[in-house]
């Protein structure tokens, strides 16, 4: 369990936290804390798209947000380098809930930091998936796809 420091993007804070523990893959939870910049994506209508779904531009929560809970996977990107997949429930200044696919490059850890639990015993790596048209995380231990 650790604090992600204020001022870093979620991407930098989490990739540095895993790297500091010698881990290139894992899973994690964010238990609480604040985001000075909170940005997330949701699915949008996709007429004409070859893929199952498309995601729109980032929704920015004005004034930042409090993390209620976030769940994430960490692993290697196609072609190398770290990749994060994070979904979160967030609370805005009025107490309204927001949620979606977090943009870790845009989100910035806010005052007081973000509390995180890292799970280092499991991991994922990204694969270009022909079925969905997305590059997706698959488990490292090769558990088959149970279609």
């Amino acid at each position: 369990m650790l604090w992600l420091p204020e001022g870093l993007t979620l991407h930098d804070a989490l990739t540095q936290a895993f790297a500091a523990r010698g881990a290139r893959t894992g899973a994690f939870h964010l238990l609480g804390g604040t985001l000075a910049v909170a940005a997330y994506h949701v699915a949008v209508p996709h007429a004409g798209s070859q893929r199952a779904v498309e995601y729109g531009e980032a929704n920015l929560i004005e004034g930042g947000a409090r993390i209620v809970r976030a769940t994430g996977s960490f692993g290697e990107r196609v072609g190398g380098g770290p990749l994060l997949h994070i979904h979160a429930s967030l609370s805005d200044a009025a107490g309204r809930g927001h949620g979606g696919h977090i943009n870790p490059e845009l989100c910035v850890v806010g005052a007081g930091g973000v509390r995180a639990i890292l799970m280092l015993a499991v991991g994922f790596h990204q694969v270009a998936d022909e079925e969905t048209g997305f590059s997706l995380f698959f488990p490292n231990q090769g558990v088959p796809h149970h279609a």
């Binding site: 699915a43 779904v53 979606g100 799970m119 994922f124 997706l136 558990v143 149970h146």
Partner: protein, 146 residues
């Protein structure tokens, strides 16, 4: 106030699993658990998307959400390949407006959209569980050969 009943369990292996398009969330995780040799498992973590979502909400109500993708923001629970002791899988989801909803994922009614990534933790039998089910914890002695 009644006393809580403590269950004597231990956990074993931890595994990352992935479900693909059109697989049902709960049934897919049960298949994944079976493939791993997990008879029971805790759903420790999970995220991904559903085509549409069906949640048991309140005590008996059903709430349905339409996609094109409903995001699973967090989920947790328990699955079992046999018996009815499992708590099921509950979670928080986000709709296409970014609004959040929560409940128990109804079995067979939550097809995966793009992907689901989850972490399962094996629940192991402890001697007390085995005894409670009437199974012997050690082989019965065969006196005919003594």
């Amino acid at each position: 106030m009644p006393d809580a009943q403590l269950l004597d369990i231990a956990t074993g292996r931890l595994a990352a699993v992935r479900l693909g398009p059109n697989e049902d969330l709960t049934l897919g995780l049960k298949k994944a658990a079976a493939a791993l040799g997990f008879r029971r498992a805790l759903v420790r973590s999970g995220l991904g998307s559903l085509l549409d979502a069906a949640l048991q909400t309140g005590t008996t109500a059903t709430h349905r959400l339409r996609g094109p993708a409903i995001e699973i923001l967090s989920m947790s629970g328990e699955i079992a390949l046999e018996g009815t002791e499992a708590a099921g899988i509950s979670g928080v989801v986000g709709d296409t407006n970014g609004a959040i909803w929560a409940g128990l994922f109804l079995v067979g009614e939550n097809p995966v959209c793009v992907t689901v990534e989850a972490v399962l933790e094996e629940i192991l039998d402890r001697p007390a569980d085995l005894l409670a089910r009437g199974r012997a914890t050690s082989p019965r002695r065969d006196t005919s050969r003594l």
